[in-house]
């Protein structure tokens, strides 16, 4: 029997979730599910640069917000369909990634991380002072009443994010198993040795940053329609920054399934915590999990699973 290629599984799961979404009537699940899927995109995207190449990006919020505010801008100018806004957000975010990467990726990873943080704050300041998009007061986006083919617009947004999540996961997987992924792994293990082995390190890092940023931008593009009121604080929320790091780390950074596991786990925990306890506690939970995992299980849940499997291999079967 031929082995089932692993890309089938995300597609199957996505189709399954799509089918479920048609049956579920309570819109709350659409809203909550959207957030979870959004994090699947962000975590998978982050991991392309962070997990595969070892370059930590603290500014995920910047790329996300570029997507969100990109939609605001393009809506004011053209009123295009959502798909166009998504592409627009992705391209702009990707270009910003290109510039940032080219300027800072010649330096050590720590400097890149700090630069991404700086980028997020500079962009937030620019947006806060830009009246065209509402400045500090933000802007309202009217969510259309309905859209053909879907029971509600929220349902449509959910499905859009589901598709984006599937794309992100498949792209991450494709990169991981390709020669690009091997090159990134070599960079992560020892960049100097990689360069001297013929790996075009700068080019690969820039590519990874563009791809990562672009995907994050795409995740942010539908956000104005989801949240209807967009202001700099919500677009640049620190939650995006910390979650995009925590989710891959806790899920496992070396495999494309890690960010998915981490995103689903953490996003669900945070949703539950927000509803039951308080929203401040969210960041606390993430912070504590982050520290625990990075100290005790740095290879994440995937890593724990792998070592469990290796243990079982070593033991003679009784």
């Amino acid at each position: 029997m031929r082995r089932i290629p692993s890309w089938i599984w995300p597609v199957v799961v996505a189709v399954f979730i799509l089918a479920l979404s048609r049956l579920v009537e309570n819109e709350y699940y659409m809203f909550a599910g959207y957030v979870v899927l959004q994090y699947v995109v962000l975590a998978s995207a982050w991991n392309i640069l962070g997990g595969y190449a070892g370059y930590v990006n603290f500014g995920s919020a910047a790329f996300f917000a570029i997507g969100a505010y990109g939609t605001v801008v393009i809506d004011k100018l053209l009123e295009p369909p959502l798909v166009v806004a998504i592409l627009f957000g992705g391209i702009v975010a990707s270009l910003v990634g290109l510039v940032t990467a080219y300027l800072t990726l010649r330096l050590r990873g720590a400097f890149f991380a700090i630069a991404t943080l700086a980028l997020a704050i500079v962009l937030q300041t620019l947006v806060t002072n830009w009246d065209f998009v509402g400045g500090p007061l933000g802007v309202y986006t009217i969510r259309p009443e309905s859209i053909a083919g879907f029971p509600s617009y929220v349902n449509y947004l959910f499905v859009v994010m589901l598709v984006l999540a599937l794309i992100a996961v498949l792209v991450a997987r494709a990169i991981e198993i390709s020669f690009i992924g091997r090159g990134l792994a070599a960079i992560r293990d020892n960049e100097l040795a990689a360069e001297c082995c013929g790996v075009p390190t700068l080019r690969l890092k820039v590519f990874a940053t563009m791809l990562s940023g672009g995907l994050m931008g795409m995740a942010g593009a539908p956000f104005p329609y989801y949240i209807t009121y967009l202001d700099p604080n919500s677009a640049f929320s620190i939650a995006y920054g910390i979650n995009s790091i925590a989710m891959p780390l806790i899920g496992g950074m070396t495999h494309w399934i890690g960010p998915v596991i981490g995103a689903v786990l953490l996003a669900v925990i945070q949703q539950v915590a927000t509803v039951t306890i308080s929203s401040e506690l969210n960041l606390m939970i993430v912070g504590v999990l982050l520290i625990s995992f990075i100290t005790l299980a740095p290879n994440g849940i995937v890593g724990l699973f792998e070592s469990y499997r290796q243990q079982r291999h070593r033991r003679p079967s009784t």
Partner: protein, 246 residues
Amino acid sequence: MTSQQSLLEAISIGKRFGGFVALEAVDIAIRPGERLGLIGPNGSGKSTLVNCLSGATSSDAGTIRFDGRPIEQLPAHKRTHLGIVRTFQIPLPFTSMTVVENLTIPLRFAARHHPEAKATESDIDQALLILEDVGLRHKAYESSAGLTQVELRKLELARAVAARPKLLIADETMAGLSYSEVDEIISLLFKLNDQGIAIIMIEHIMRAVMAFSQRVVVLVAGRKIADDVTDVVMNNAEVVRAYLGE
């Protein structure tokens, strides 16, 4: 030697770090298939020279021609594509990968650029052959993180070979090894040289240099003080003085 004859020709290489002059007007050249020893006291600039030749650092002055082409502006990975490969004094394996996977990196990213080196076997098969050559075949599927010192040095060399070099710069591959381990590495380097690879051996272990090199270049305090056939250089008074003191 004339420019037509040399594989690598570096003229008047200079490098400063702040106020410290690491290299001053150093000329070095090597013919295809030649075995060159590069020696000098600690701090004489050998590693800096290697870095400048391989592209890990950029030189401040001088020209470098490889196969007739100027390469000073090229980044390290491009020089590797052309066929200049170096190993590191302290081995730098890709620790998350197995031994054989380590070799697939240069095979995929460097070897492909050599039209002469087109191979029909898969990367893994080529890698296994190279591991066979260096004596690491039995460790192919083990993590590279758990190797012994001499095994790490062999992995460094194997990885360099996987890049299909025309010139291999072996930077102190034998430092700290036992007598028999040094012999192992020497015979390995001879084997590689038999395949047509020019080799620059940087070493402090004199018996290795004398056994291996056809010609020796001596650096002292950033300058070249000798460049001749091995026997001549080893008997040069200035060289002896540099190593043993006045």
